[in-house]
């Protein structure tokens, strides 16, 4: 890269160079401003999408698996799933519980 730069002719950045640089900088600035506006627009879309996802989750609490989504679950502190552990005598008498305490309410 340095060798390439060394081989290239020096740019005549005198009086004319300022105008040329100005023209190209103006063009670059326009593009940057446009991209910044678009980035802000995309951020708004993302925020609205998050709001909508929260609204959908709150509006349908009975939807399977909804409660557990987006909730950080510490695997080590969670009790084992029903299928993975032995049932206590009272659970065995009452039948398997529908939900495991703590897994979805965390």
């Amino acid at each position: 890269m340095l060798a390439l730069l060394a081989a290239t002719p020096a740019l005549p950045l005198d009086e004319a160079g300022k105008y040329v640089a100005g023209a190209y900088v103006v063009f670059l600035a326009l593009i940057v401003v446009y991209v910044a506006i678009m980035a802000a627009k995309l951020q708004r879309i993302e925020r609205e999408l998050n709001e909508l996802a929260n609204f959908a989750e709150q509006g349908r609490p009975g939807t399977p698996g909804r409660e557990a989504e987006d909730v950080p679950v510490d695997v080590e502190t969670q009790p084992a799933a029903v299928s993975d552990r032995n049932l206590t005598p009272s659970e065995a008498a009452a039948g398997r519980p529908d939900r495991v305490q703590g897994s979805a309410d965390a």
């Binding site: 105008y19 909508l52 959908a56």
Partner: protein, 240 residues
């Protein structure tokens, strides 16, 4: 849907711009008359050509919208014109800088090329208030399409009229009897033209993708009957 192919297009655009700048500053010879100032030509002229073609493309999309009634074409037309107006700003600013450097004035009012481009630009600047003044979306799209077609037809007519007019100071680079640019300059110019054309296409696609995402979000909000956030009563065309 609109985002498909955006990534390779963006990469191609960046590569073309880098190639173009390299050719402009390290390959193209200095102009015998203007010297280093002439480097603005490789930015200013492609921007002007792409902006004017973009206005015409906006008119073509508007014809498709009126023929089919499909709101997607209206969105294409709107975004094409929007992008060309932004490029038009760049044309006017870079042209003024060039004029100041080579003629000593920021603007020359009796030069047909400059004034005609300003007229085209100002005409398209009225597109936004004209469009946003109409609340009903269907009427808004229809009237905007009529505007885009009429103005799009005016652009080539205006261009031809300017070419036939007698120029005072603005050069007619591609119309000289000797064939215009030498080979190295022509190659640099063509690469710059491709780069700016790719940039226009990428930004149009980028904007359409954002509009599509925004439109789908609104549809989802309506389907879920969710409350709409403040400040979202936009009148720009929705893309589904």
């Amino acid at each position: 849907m609109y985002g498909k192919g955006l990534r390779p297009l963006s990469i191609a655009t960046v590569a073309a711009i880098v190639a173009s700048l390299s050719l402009v500053f390290f390959y193209a010879p200095l102009d015998a008359d203007q010297g280093f100032i002439q480097k603005i030509f490789y930015l200013h002229v492609p921007l002007a050509i792409v902006a004017l073609v973009g206005f015409v493309v906006g008119g073509v999309f508007a014809i498709l919208h009126l023929r089919s009634g499909d709101s997607r074409w209206d969105a294409y037309s709107y975004v094409s014109i929007h992008m060309s107006v932004i490029f038009g700003v760049a044309v006017l600013v870079t042209g003024s800088i060039w004029a100041k450097a080579s003629w000593g004035h920021w603007w020359v009012w009796d030069e047909p090329t400059l004034v005609s481009f300003l007229i085209v630009f100002l005409m398209y600047a009225t597109y936004y208030p004209f469009r946003y003044a109409i609340e009903d979306r269907e009427r808004q799209a229809r009237y905007a399409s009529v505007f885009a077609i009429t103005a799009g037809a005016f652009v080539p007519l205006n261009f031809m009229a300017v070419r036939m007019a007698e120029s005072l100071v603005h050069p007619r680079t591609f119309g000289t009897a000797n064939g215009g640019l030498p080979g190295e300059m022509m190659l640099t110019f063509l690469v710059s033209l491709v780069a700016i054309g790719l940039l226009w296409t990428t930004l149009v696609k980028f904007e359409l993708t954002a509009k599509s995402a925004s439109g789908q979000l609104k549809r989802l909000r309506r389907a879920l009957d969710a409350p709409s956030p403040g400040g979202s009563s936009r009148v720009a065309p929705e893309v589904s």
